[in-house]
Amino acid sequence: MAVKVRVPTPLMKLTDNKSEVTAEGATINDILNNLENQFAGIKERICDEKGAPRRFINIYLNEEDIRFLEGENTPVKDGDEISIIPAIAGGA
């Protein structure tokens, strides 16, 4: 399955400054591993040592937060869009 992954600004230095990349896999977990193969270092920015997304980063499958689906085991299908959305604090 090929899906579109939206990369947030703080992680774009790992993706050659691309805000959108393509990844392959059947679940969110596969997608994260596939991203790591393409862009070394990106997974540890998104996930903790146990492989779960960090508590200040959410992953959305299309419009839905995967925490309310099946988490990292959520299946994905061709044409899905995954967004990685970290907390940002700026405002001054």
Partner: protein, 268 residues
Amino acid sequence: MIDFTDEQIERYSRHIILPEVGGEGQSRLLESKVLLVGAGGLGSPAAFYLAAAGVGNMGIIDFDTVDLSNLQRQIIHNTERIGMLKTESAKKTISALNPDVNVTVFNEKLTSENILRLFEGYDYVLDGTDNFATRYLINDACVMTGKTNIHGSIFRFEGQVTIFKPDEGPCYRCLYPEPPPPGMVPNCQEGGVLGVLAGVIGNLQVVETLKLILGKGETLVGSLLIYDALKTEFRKLKLKKDPKCPVCGDQPTITELIDYEEFCGLSR
């Protein structure tokens, strides 16, 4: 409904002719009480347009002074006011724009000690701060006091807006249970920001605040609006209340206000 003066009817005529506002809605705006936390990038445009709209009671919290590097985006201040307290500068601009607005200034740094006192008397809190510590403090205090938090944040060319309305939708901790540890996110100053992005996001916070006060339209309760200025793209993601949320969930573990260590920002 309040008795408008002739001057008010003229000042707010473009509002009053809108069926969604009318005399009644304008009365509501004039009687509303909105607290702005931060008179910086987001707070500047927000204070400006809230004042123009005739939001009658505005509190502004900020302990900082106007700096030359602020003026690329903090448009409520100006070059002559460098060194002046931001609250005083904001009050001056607001009073010159619309004398109907009662401005109360708090030259204080928001902490767990003073937040409940400062929140008293306000119905809506517009979060225009620049650091996680204060954002979590504002969230927790809003949940505990039942106040609506109109949230906006910016980084480089990207902005996020949502509303955290206790009981009706998720809170900030439903999204992000804990702040990131220092060093895990880029510092705001290092990151930079397109000045006008603060204007876009701060004004979206105002649009949402006005709709909440008027009780019109669909608000961002339960949705996260993301704006990508480089792509010229708005996206809306669904937010859900987390039953396991540490502050607004079924069994909250956070029942007292927390002062997190400060990082990412507080300008200098």
